[in-house]
Amino acid sequence: MRSLQARYTRDRLILIVVIAGTILAALPLTLVLGYALVNGFSSLNWDFFTKGPKPPGELGGGMAPAIVGTLIITGTGLLIATPFGIAAGILLAEYPENKLNPTLRLLSDTLNGMPAVLKGLLAYVLVVKAQGSFSGLSGAVAMAFIMVPIIAKTTESVLKLVPWNIREAGLALGLPRWRVILSLVLPAARAGVVTGLLLATARAAGEAAPLIFTAFGNSLLTYNLLQPMDTLPLRLYAYAISPYEDWHRQAWAAAVVLLGLIVLTSLLARWVTRGR
C-alpha cells in the first residue's frame, strides 16, 4: 500500500502540471491582446474613424470606408443568414420526422466545418462570377455562409429546450403546427435565438480570408453593395503586411476597433440572456 504522503505528492504534481498548461495556453492570447491594446489605443484618433486611407507611403488617413463596410457587410450577411439559419433550426428541432433532415444536418455540419476561405470561394462562384465584379454583396453572401450553420445550431438547441406542453397547448386550440411554432414556441426561445444571431455576427465580422476575392476592398467610402467594399479585417491584413510604419500603427488600431466590436456583440448576447 502506498503511503498517504506519496498520494499527496502525486496530487500536487498533477495540479502544478495543469496550472502550468493553462498558463502556457493563455499566455500567447494575453500577450497578443495586451500588445494590440497598447499599440492600438495609442494609434486611435479622430481621423481613423472619419478619413479614408492615404496612398502608400503617405502619413495619416483612416479607416472610415472599412468601418462602414464591416457594418454593412456583416449586417447584410446577417439579414441573409437569419431566415435560412432559423428555418433550418426549426426544421431540425420541430420536424424530426422530415425526410430531408438528415441531409440538412449533414449540410449544416459540413458548412460549419468548412474553412472560411472556401465559403469565400463559394460566394465568388455564386455572386462575383454572375455579377462580373467584386462587390460588398458577394462579401455579405460569404459572411452568410459562415453565419447560417451557427444560427441553425443554436436555434435548434434552444428550441429543444422549450417545454413540450406549450406545443400541445397551442395545437389543442386548433392552431396549425407552423403557427404554434412561429407564434408560441419561437418567442419562448427568443433570447437564445438572438444570442445565436449575435454570436454568428461576432464570428463572421472578424473574417478576412473569404472577403479577399469577394468584397475585395476599396479605399473609397461606398454604401453601394454592388461595388467593391472595404472591411476592417481586409484593411488590417493589407496594412499589416505592408512595409510602412504608419500603416502598421493603423493595423493595430483596426485590431482594437474590431476587437471592441466583437466584445460589444458578445456582451450584447450576454445581456439578452441575462438572468437565465
Binding site: 424530426p96 420526422e97 417545454p163 406542453n165 406549450i166 406545443r167 400541445e168 397547448a169 397551442g170 395545437l171 389543442a172 386550440l173 386548433g174 392552431l175 396549425p176 403546427r177 403557427r179 407564434s183 408560441l184 418567442p187 419562448a188 427568443r190
Partner: protein, 270 residues
Amino acid sequence: MMREFKPMASSEMTLDPSLKTRIETRHVTVIYGQKAGVKDVTMPIYANKVTALIGPSGCGKTTFLRSLNRMHDLTPSARVTGEVLLDGINVYAAGVDPVEVRRKIGMVFQKPNPFPTLSIYGNVVAGLRLVGIRKKSLLDEAAERALRQAALWDEVKDRLHAPSMSLSGGQQQRLCIARALAVEPEVLLMDEPTSALDPISTQSIEDLLTELKNHVTIVIVTHNMQQAGRVSDFTGYFLNGEMVEFGPTSLLFTTPKDKRTEAYITGRFG
C-alpha cells in the same frame, strides 16, 4: 350532422330517445412503443351531456382523452388504432385535418400550461388572434366572457396584461380553461380540471359545466367520485387501459354491474 347512437347490446340502459351521439369510439387502442395505454375502448359520448371518465391512476384516462382530438399525433412513440367518429366521421380517416378536429374538440390539460411569453389576456385570446381575428372589441369581449366562465375574471380584471406566469397554479389552470373556452369548441375535453383548485373555484367550474352543457359536449376526467356524481350524466370506468363499465352516472354509481366498478366506487380500490 349528429347521429343516433345504437346502444351496445345493453337493454338495461334505458336511454332517453332524444339522446344524440356526438362522438363514438370504436375499438380504440393506444400503444406506447410495445405497451398498450388504452385497449379496445368502444363507447359513446352523448351530445350536450357531461361524460366522466374515472379510474385509478395510470389506467389510461388521459391516454384515451388524448386519442379523441388526435393529440397523440405528435408523440412519435404512440400509435392509435380503431376509430373515433365525430358526428359519424372518423377523425383518423385519411384526408381529415387534425387541426380542424382540434378546433372542434378543445382540451384542458391535467397540468396547467399557459403560454409563458404571453400575458393573461394574451393567453385567453391566443386561439382567436392566431387564426387572424384582430378586432379589439371582439377579442376583449371574448376574453371577459371566457374569464368570467372560468371564474377568474374578478381576480385578474385589473391586471389583464400581467405575465401569465405571475398567476398561482390554480389561477393558471383556470386561465387554461378560459383559453380553451374562448375559441368556443363544440366538444370540451377536461383532464382533472379542478385537481389544483380550492372548493370555491371548483364549485364555479362545476356550475360552469352544467351551464355549458346547453351548447357544448363535455368529457371530464376526475379522481373525485363526488364530483363525477355531481356533474356527469354518464360515466365510464377505466381499469388497466380497458373500459370496464359505461352507463348513466346514476345507475353506475348505485347499481354497478361489474364487481371491479363496485369496488372502485365504494372506495375499496384505487
